[in-house]
């Protein structure tokens, strides 16, 4: 008798299961229907890094070209090119910092202010190497790098993941529609 009661109870649990899935069937979808909808809350999303513009001029990055990010990057995916400007005149050839050599002073205090002004030419990110560790973001002395909210980032070739972040920043860091 007890066995029959137990069996009936278990059979009833099957009905309960059907009731649960039957109710779920008629409820609205929970998934984000990607090409037609996009996910909303991206505050905690770590996209590829992007440059932060100056507060007073959105066309100029905060970056002071100290190259700490380039030195600390374990994947060597950042390369920076800049011009020193002396007395208002640019030297003809851009200076590329050698990523193989850790520049002196880059792991201590922020670099001493120099007489030579620098103008950033390129801030290249090879995103296919990046592991999103965030060391560059943590170690930037002027908070010039942050993670983007670029969720729907896709490409069809390796070159699509080599990004000039300076140019991207000038285009509004993805807030404006792409010119293409």
């Amino acid at each position: 008798m007890a066995m029959v009661a137990k069996t009936l109870k278990r059979l009833w649990s099957l009905v309960v299961g059907l009731e649960v899935t039957g109710k779920e069937f008629f409820k609205p979808w929970l998934t984000v229907h990607y090409p037609r909808q996009q996910v909303g809350n991206l505050d905690t999303y770590r996209g590829h890094i992007e440059l932060v513009p100056r507060d007073d001029n959105p066309a100029i990055p905060r970056c002071i070209m100290c190259s700490r990010c380039q030195d600390i990057c374990p994947s060597r995916c950042i390369s920076i090119a800049f011009h020193p400007v002396e007395n208002g005149e640019r030297t003809p050839k851009p200076l590329w910092l050698n990523p193989g050599i850790v520049s002196p002073g880059s792991h201590g205090a922020p670099p001493a202010p120099e007489r030579i002004e620098r103008v950033l030419d390129r801030f290249d990110l090879n995103y296919s190497l990046c592991s999103l560790c965030g060391l560059c973001v943590q170690n930037c002395p002027v908070a010039a790098i942050r993670f983007s909210r670029h969720v729907y980032f896709c490409g069809t070739s390796r070159q699509d993941f080599s990004i000039d972040l300076l140019e991207r920043m000038k285009r509004g860091n993805g807030t404006k529609p792409h010119p293409e």
């Binding site: 899935t21 069937f25 979808w29």
Partner: protein
Amino acid sequence: MIPTMLHLLAHPFIRIVIALVLTMAFVGVMGLVLVYAERKVAGFIQRRPGPFEVGPHGILQSLADAGKLVGKQLVRPFDADPFLFWAAPILSLAPVVVCFLPIPFGPTLTGMQINVGLVLILAFSGLNTLALCLAGWGSANKYSLLGSARAVSQSVAYEIPLLLAVLAIAFQSGSLDLTEITLTQRRSVLSWNVWVQPLAFLIFFVSLVAETNRAPFDLPEAESELTAGFHTEYSGMGFGLFFLAEYTYMIVGCAVASCLFLGGWEGPVADGHWWFLAKTFGLLLAMMWFRWTYPRVRFDQLLNVCWKWLIPLGLANLVVTALVIKVVG
């Protein structure tokens, strides 16, 4: 000229050929519809849209999948037995077409009305087990072999309660002809056999789910344990035929269930094949609902349900039915 042609069309052989051709078309279309329905049901139960991109609301998705399956290369493992390996998918689908012949879709819409229709269906649907066995043996793959061993023991076990449930109905109606069994339930909805024989209906439906290797009894192709069971090594249309056969056996089973228990083409307002199709579709949707509700059972549980519950209950039901018929009739 025209009377001669009509006379020719009325010939039983021509009728069977026409019925077989129509059945093939029906099977193909229903395969596409059911795959789509299955995926939509799965999606809705899991609160997602299911297939959506091919055609409006993804309605052409299964057509695209069928095209993909037809286009794929047929690969045979090096050690596999070529004859058995390729015979298995054909043997899986071919007999099921015959199973449609004695099913009465409407009052006159029957391929071949014979007095042993039920036996014919049970005999030909049993061949599927042989096909799964050949597929498992011929693939030279341990997953396939395990899958087919499971398929055989499961089919052998569940055929017994299935037959016991069918037998109770056959006792009651005194016929093995599906048309006649349908006609015995024609008075009203309350004279459907499901009200007279609820236990037999339950046993029949559970055994049907197990016989068609559907979840929660899909152990022959348990993907978490056996990659894909008996059809692990099949690609393209080899797999496609197994897939189509599985859905076709589902249709046959649900069609027989609606004949035996739900009054076939008989319905409250207007009799006809739409009632038959509606009942069959209802049962098919219930099978999909089960699939996306219950987790897969363990193999000992599967056999325990059969040998310890369904067969004793089926026998008891049969004895009671026989006694009642003896006393009342």
